[in-house]
C-alpha cells in the first residue's frame, strides 16, 4: 500500500505557511508597530544591496547591448538597440535578475539570521518576555523587502540603461541624448506598470520565504545553513512562478 506520509507532510508544510502568512497580516495592523526596526531593515535590505544591484544592472545593460549589436547590425537595425534594450530590461530581465540576486543575498541572510535566533532560543526568549517576535522580526523584514525590492529594481533598470548607453557609445558613438530618447520613448504604461507590480510580489516573496524558513529552523546549527539555502531555492522558484503568472495576467488584461 503506498504511504501517505509525503502527502500529509506537504499538507502540513502548506498549512504552516498559511498560518505564518495569517500571523503576518494579523500583526501588520496591530498596535505597537516597530518603526525603528522597519527603518533599520530598510537600511540593511535596501541601502546595503545598492552595490551589488548597481554592478549587476550596469553589466547587464552592457552585455545585452553588446550581444544584440552584431545581429541588429546584420539587419541594419542598430537604431533599434536602445529601444530593444530598454523594453527587455524594464519588462523582464531587470525585475527577474534583480529579484534572483536579492533572493540570494537577502532571503538567505534573513533565513540564516532568524534561523540562528531560533536555534539559540532568542525568538523563544522574545516571546516569553511578552514581546511579539512576529511583529518585531517578521513584519518589519517582509515590509522592508516589499518596499525596497521595487526601488532597487527601478534603480538597477536605470543602471542597465546607463550600461547600454556606455556599450553603444563605445561601439557606435551614440550620444547620450539620442540613446535615452530612443530608449524611453518606446516605453509605455503597459511596459512599466506590470513590471513594478511584479517586483512588489517578488519583494514580498523574498521576505516571506526568508522569515518562514528562519522560523522553521529547529534542528541545531545545521538547520541554520539549511534554512538559508532553502530560502534562496524556494524564493527563486517562486520568483519564476510569479513572473510567469504576472506576464500571463498582464498580457490578458492589457493586450486582449
Amino acid at each position: 500500500m503506498p504511504s501517505s506520509a509525503p502527502f500529509s507532510k506537504t499538507l502540513f508544510y502548506i498549512s504552516d505557511q498559511a498560518f505564518f502568512l495569517r500571523s503576518f497580516f494579523r500583526n501588520l495592523f496591530r498596535r505597537g508597530f516597530e518603526w525603528d526596526e522597519l527603518f533599520h531593515q530598510l537600511y540593511v535590505i535596501g541601502y546595503k544591496s545598492i552595490g551589488i544591484v548597481t554592478l549587476t544592472g550596469f553589466i547587464l545593460g552592457i552585455v545585452l547591448t553588446l550581444q544584440s549589436m552584431p545581429t541588429m547590425k546584420e539587419f541594419g537595425a542598430e537604431s533599434f538597440i536602445p529601444g530593444m534594450v530598454s523594453v527587455s530590461i524594464i519588462r523582464e530581465i531587470g525585475p527577474v535578475i534583480i529579484a534572483l540576486i536579492c533572493a540570494g543575498k537577502i532571503a538567505s541572510s534573513i533565513g540564516a539570521e532568524l534561523g540562528s535566533m531560533n536555534v539559540t532560543e532568542q525568538i523563544d526568549a522574545m516571546e516569553v518576555s511578552g514581546a511579539n517576535p512576529i511583529q518585531f522580526l517578521v513584519v518589519t523584514r517582509i515590509l522592508a523587502c516589499t518596499i525596497m525590492i521595487p526601488l532597487l529594481t527601478i534603480f538597477a533598470d536605470g543602471m542597465a540603461l546607463l550600461g547600454g548607453f556606455v556599450a553603444s557609445s563605445m561601439n557606435n558613438g551614440t550620444s547620450m541624448q539620442l540613446f535615452f530618447t530612443k530608449a524611453l520613448t518606446i516605453l509605455d504604461f503597459s511596459d512599466v506598470l506590470p513590471s513594478i507590480i511584479k517586483t512588489v510580489f517578488f519583494g514580498f516573496t523574498i521576505g516571506f520565504v526568508g522569515c518562514f524558513k528562519g522560523f522553521a529552523a529547529n534542528g541545531g546549527t545545521a538547520s541554520v545553513g539549511t534554512a538559508a539555502n532553502s530560502a534562496v531555492v524556494t524564493a527563486s522558484i517562486w520568483i519564476i512562478i510569479i513572473d510567469g503568472i504576472v506576464v500571463q495576467v498582464s498580457n490578458s488584461l492589457l493586450y486582449s
Binding site: G32, E113, M117, T120, E121, Q122, D124, A125, M126, E127, V128, S129, G130, A131, N132, F136
Partner: protein, 244 residues
Amino acid sequence: METAIVIEITGLKKKFGDKEVLTGMSLLLNKGENVVVIGKSGSGKSVAIKCIAGLLTQDEGSIKVFGEEVKDMNEEQLKAMRHRIGFLFQGAALYDSMTVRENLSFPLKRILKIKDKAEIESRSIEVLQAVGLEDAIDKMPADLSGGMRKRMGLARTLILKPEIILYDEPTTGLDTITSKEISRLVLDMQERYQTSSVIITHDMPCAKITADKVMVLNEGKCQAEGTYEELENSSDPFIQSFFK
C-alpha cells in the same frame, strides 16, 4: 498561615512524534520557594518548563500558573502571565545583534511601554549591579564570557520584576567556580526580589545551594520528591546515582 501555590502541574503528558517525553509529571511550587528538578538528559525537564511558559502545549494534564490554566489562556492572558514570569534559557538567549543596554531596554520598551530614557537607564543599571555586570552595559553579547552571559540573561529576566523565574540549566557549560557563583546568585535574587523558582539542572552542587525542594524526574514523571538531604539519604539506586 496558608502557603500560596503559584504553579500547579498535574498529570502532564507531552510527546514528540512517537516519543513520549513527559508521561504524567506533577509539580507544586509555593510562593517564595525554589524547586529544583533533576533528571537525566532527555528526561523532559526543559520540555516541562517550556510548557509552563506556554512555549509548548501539553497533550494531556493541567498546568495552572497563578491559578489559571495555561492552555485555556488567550493571547492577551498568556502575555499577561508571561509578564509575571521570567525564563532564563540554557544558553542565556541574549539578542546577539543588540548591546547589553539594548537587550535590557527591549522588554522595558515593549512590555512596560517605558519611553523615558533616564528610567530605562536606571532600571538597567539596577539589574546589572544586582548581577555584578554594571561595566558591561555597552558590550555586545559576543564579548561576554559564559558566566557573564548567564548573569546578563538573569539581569534581562529580572528587569521586568517577575514573580516566578524558570531556570533552564543555569550552570551548564560553566566551570565549577562560576557554577557556584551563578548558583549563589540565583539564591540572592530569590531573597532580594522575593521570587519563586523552578530550576532545571543536573548539577548537584547547584541543586544543593538553591533547592528548598528537589524533584527527581525519571522517564517523564516524578520518581521522588523531598529536600536535598532527604533525597541524598534515599536508598533508591536511581536517586543515589545523582548524588554519587
